[in-house]
Every structure is written in C-alpha cells, then in structure tokens.
C-alpha cells in the first residue's frame, strides 16, 4: 500500500485523485474479474466461431456452429423441456412464495419454527436435494410409492417415467427453491408502509381489501424482479437434473444447460457448446435489460 497521504491534499492529488492507493485496493478484484469473467465472455464468442475439442488446436468454421444449432433436434427438445420447467416453476414458486410470505408475516405463535422449517430446504445443496428425492421417489423402495400403496392408489414411476420425470423435477425444484421468493416477499412486506395499511383499515377496508388494493400493488416491482430472477434460474437448471435423472429417462429431462455441458465436456464439441451458450445468454440479457428498463420507467413515473 502507498504511504499515508497527508491530510491537507496537495495540488497534484486533487488533480489526480488517489490513483495509486485506489488501484492497489481494486487490483486483486479487477485481475480476477477481468481475467475470469470478462476475458471468458469474449473468448466464448471467439470459440463459438470455431471447431474446438479442448485438446487439439481449434479451427475457424465461421457461422456453421450457429447454423447447426438451428436444425438440431436434440437442442430443440432440450429447449422444450426447459420451457416447460420454466412455465411451471416460475408462476408456481412466485404464487406460493407470496402466499407463504403473507402467512408467515403474522405475529402468531410458532411462526419462527414454521419459517425455519419452510426455509431449510433452500439452504441445502441442490445436488443433495436431488439425491434425497431420488431415494424418496425410488420406484421400488421409495416412501412416495409406499404412501400411495397405503392409500390404495397405484404406484407411480416418478423419476423413472418419461411422462412424469420433468414434473417431479418441478416439484423438487419448488420444494427446494421456494425459500428465495419467500424471503424476498417477506422483506418486501416489511417495507409496506404501516400507515397505508392503517389508513385503509380506518377507512373500513376489510383484510382482503387491504391486501388486494394496498399491499399487492406495493409488491408489484418485487414480483417483476422475481419473475425475471426465477426465469433466469429455470433456464439455467442443471444441478437438480444431474443429481436425479442425468437427463433421462429417454432424454425426458434433458435441459439446455445439461446439453451445453454434454456437448462441451462429454462430447468435446466446445465450439458448438459455446454457440448455444451465447444464444441463451443473449436471451437472458434481453430479459434482464427489460426488467431494468421497467424499473427505470417506473422510477421516472413515480
């Protein structure tokens, strides 16, 4: 670190700011973030125009990776599965998160225990969640089928059934992922001005009316944020699939990031994988930009 600057600033310091100290402070962060985030972003773009297997020297292939992904049936399937997961996971997790946050935002007994119990799964690693539920939903020895049996209902294939596997993964995803929307809504509910609620109550608004016309409008920006965030999460689904089905059965749970991983690190088509990753990333960026644009528009209106 540089020598301590004497308190009355010299003329030069006033002009230059505090370059040496400041750069010394940010250098480690800048080196790591530029080197392992910015450089890879550019590198991926370059890679997407190449044929690369991560071992032998790569070759330029122009746009042919992008050409190939337009007519790749397996990629189309992966996109479909991802879209189904997203279309279920995002609205359900947001609605349930909001509902539970409203329920937990109440000064009743045991509320701390309820909150801890409902949040606990979110802290566990997704890999562990997947392994746990592969056991619970095991066709022969799992508790899920035992319960069905005891209720006199038929046993089910769950993760082993191509028609059910993706929906079971949605279910596990919600069990393990509800913590985030829940925590965000809980924080947002704390921020709803008490006076607004009291004023509405004085005006004779019933509980439902207060919720519908006072609280929910306040939560609108948070909901938009959560919709974007949960969509980003869903489109990047990987760990849960890897820990439960590895894309099976019959590729029924093969999702986009799993496909990128598969192409890059199992089939060694790194160039092609980079091209897919780029298309997905651009889509995500558009989503984030739309959300930021919405925030700005709303801020200007207020």
């Amino acid at each position: 670190m540089s020598a301590p600057a004497p308190p009355p600033r010299t003329f030069a310091q006033r002009i230059l700011g505090e370059h040496p100290t400041a750069w010394a402070f940010v250098l480690p962060a800048v080196v790591i973030i530029i080197g392992l985030a910015i450089v890879p972003i550019v590198w991926s773009l370059v890679l997407s125009f190449k044929s690369a297997d991560l071992i032998s020297p790569s070759q330029w292939v122009g746009l042919s990776n992008y050409d190939a992904l337009l007519s790749d049936p397996k990629l189309r399937e992966a996109i479909q599965h991802t879209v189904v997961y997203t279309a279920l996971f995002v609205p359900i997790s947001i609605a349930l998160g909001l509902f539970l946050a409203i329920a937990l935002n109440r000064p009743i007994r045991l509320i701390g225990i309820y909150r801890t119990a409902i949040l606990a799964p979110f802290i566990a690693s997704v890999a562990a969640q997947g392994v746990l539920f592969s056991f619970i939903f095991d066709q022969r020895f799992g508790v899920a089928n035992a319960v069905l049996d005891n209720l006199g209902l038929g046993r089910m294939g769950f993760l082993g059934d191509p028609d059910q596997a993706l929906f079971v993964i949605v279910l596990i995803g919600i069990w393990g992922g509800i913590g985030f929307p829940l925590v965000i809504y809980l924080a947002a509910l704390q921020d709803v001005p008490r006076e607004l609620i009291d004023a509405a109550a004085v005006d004779g608004a019933r509980r439902w009316g207060v919720l519908r016309h006072v609280v929910l409008p306040q939560l609108y920006p948070v909901t938009i944020f959560l919709a974007v965030w949960q969509t980003l999460l869903s489109l990047q689904l990987f760990d849960l699939v890897y820990a439960t089905t590895r894309g099976g059965p019959l590729d029924a749970t093969f999702v986009i990031v799993y496909y990128i991983y598969n192409q890059a690190f199992e089939l060694f088509n790194a160039g092609y994988a980079a091209a897919i990753a780029y298309v997905v990333a651009l889509f995500l960026l558009v989503l984030v930009a739309a959300q930021l644009g919405y925030n700005r528009w709303r801020a200007r209106r207020a």
């Binding site: 802290i123 690693s125 997704v126 965000i184 005006d203 009316g209 016309h213 890897y242 997905v280 995500l284």
Partner: protein, 292 residues
C-alpha cells in the same frame, strides 16, 4: 393508492369485528402453516432417519416410517470405506479460503469504488456490474481452458481461483460503504490515518453486518456448487461434497442408508450454520436481490 382504498371501503362497515372471529382457540393460519412446515421439513428428517436404518429396513415393504431399531451400517460405510471425510475436508478448504479472500478483496475493492476517486473507476465498476448478469454456462468453457493453461485442473485450486473475488461481493460491499456516513472516516483522516488505516480501523468494524452477509453468501455458493466441480475435478480424492455425493450415489444405488448418511454430511453443516445465524443467511439472500 387512495382510489383502491375507496373501492374497498363500505363493505366492512356492516360487518362487526366480533362476527369475523372464528371460534378456534388459535389463529386459523396454523391450519395452513403447520401442514406446510411439515411438508417442507419432513424430507430432511426422513433423510436423517433413513441414514440410521439398515438396508433391510429400507427395502422391506411397506417401508418403515419410524424404525424399531437404529443401525449405523450406512454411517460405517460412509466414514470408513468412502472418501466422504476427504470430500468434507475439501469442501471446507474451498469454502473457507474463498470466504476469507472474498472478505478481504471485496472489502478493499468495494471501499475503493465507494470512497476513492480514481480514473477508470466508473468503467471498471460498470464492467463488474455487467459480469453479474452473465450466466455461468457462458464462461465455464473458457474458464476451464484458463485453469488448464494454469495447470491446476483437477486440483482444489481450480475450484478456489475463479471464486477468489465474487463480483456480487464487490457490489455488496460498495453499496454498504456508499451508504455509510463519511464523517467518522473523515475525522480519522484528519488525524493522519492512511486510507488503509481508515478502512481497517474505522470502516470495517462498522461493516460487520455486511461482512457477515458476504461470508454467508460465499459459503453457501461454494459449499453447494455442483456444476463447476463436475467440470474442473476428475479424480475422486479432489471432489467436494456435492460432487462426491452424486458420484457415490451412482456407485451405491441400492445402499440407501449409506447414501443418506453421505447426504446428511453434505447438508447438515450448512443447516446448522443456518439455524445459528438465520438472520444473516436471510439477509444474504435478500441482498443478492439488490442487484436486480
């Protein structure tokens, strides 16, 4: 807002509060929250319980819900005949090193971006913000190539180096310091304290909540990650817990109690940390939303 209230008023006037009270001795919300809490907690309890069952108990039909006797075969397999102790150590090393390095480097960088004027600061900070929205699958292939060039693929270093400074951490610390009143620091400056001195002796002690949040967030991310270790690590002995657990599961598909014992080892340390510092963990989750 007032318009909404107006539409809602009127209807309640004719409904006295007494009538609305149900005759339950407890709040009706318990009827919803209790079963929900059970649904969320039960799988985790089941995980712990079944790690203490024998495979015969698990395999019998219908499965035992409450075992009549406890067995430690699964735990014996996991502790004596598997790499779980090693994976636990690896996970601990990776998490601890990255937590410490993030605390140090994110504080330094966050403080500089918040307080110091230097050329290029805006551009560099915007670049860091930009990396926040980049999905990992875009950078993972080149990152692997970089690790390969550095010769550290399949070592713990390959897990640690990319996470030494998390962009989110820099952002979090900057936000904290921006909102910290300057007056205290300026007094120390006038007393002749260097910038580093001010940071260490004045600003950081005030930043304890932000540092705790950053530590919890880094720990969670590193302890729970699967995708990057899966790519960067190929030998069994260098795996972290999530990676080791999924591998172990693949090799012991019928040995449920052992797999669940391994699962307990993976999950319970984080769970205990969460129970001890719930507030900090919740704050670390909400703070990651600040970037939105």
């Amino acid at each position: 807002m007032s318009a909404g209230v107006a539409t809602a008023s009127g209807s309640a006037a004719e409904r006295p509060a007494v009538e609305r009270r149900r005759r339950l001795p407890f709040s009706p919300w318990h009827l919803i929250l209790f079963p929900t809490a059970v649904v969320f907690a039960l799988p985790l309890l089941w995980m712990v319980l079944s790690s203490f069952m024998s495979n015969a108990q698990i395999n019998q039909f219908p499965p035992t819900i409450i075992p009549d006797s406890l067995h430690i075969d699964g735990w014996r397999t996991v502790l004596d005949d598997s790499q779980f102790p090693r994976w636990f150590l690896n996970s601990t090393i990776v998490a601890l090193v990255t937590v410490v390095s993030n605390l140090v480097f994110c504080s330094l960088a966050g403080y500089a971006f918040a307080r110091l004027r230097f050329r290029g600061s805006t551009v560099v900070f915007l670049l860091i913000l930009f990396t926040l929205v980049i999905p990992f699958q875009l950078t993972m292939i080149p990152t692997f190539i970089v690790m390969d060039k550095l010769g550290i693929v399949d070592t713990l270093a390959a897990l640690i180096v990319p996470a030494l400074v998390l962009p989110l951490g820099v952002f979090l610390m900057r936000q904290f310091f921006v909102n910290l009143p300057r007056e205290v620091e300026e007094a120390a400056r006038i007393d002749g304290c260097s910038r580093l001195g001010v940071l260490v002796h004045v600003a950081l002690p005030l930043a304890r909540p932000a540092l705790a949040t950053l530590a919890a967030l880094t720990f969670l991310l590193m302890w729970n990650d699967l995708l990057w270790p899966l790519i960067a690590i190929s030998s069994d002995e260098n795996a972290t817990l999530p990676l080791g657990l999924t591998t172990f599961q693949g090799q012991h598909t019928q040995d449920f109690s052992a797999v669940m014992a391994g699962n307990v080892i993976t999950v319970v340390p984080v769970l205990i940390a969460f129970l001890l510092a719930q507030r900090t963990f919740i704050e670390s989750l909400t703070s990651s939303a600040v970037k939105g």
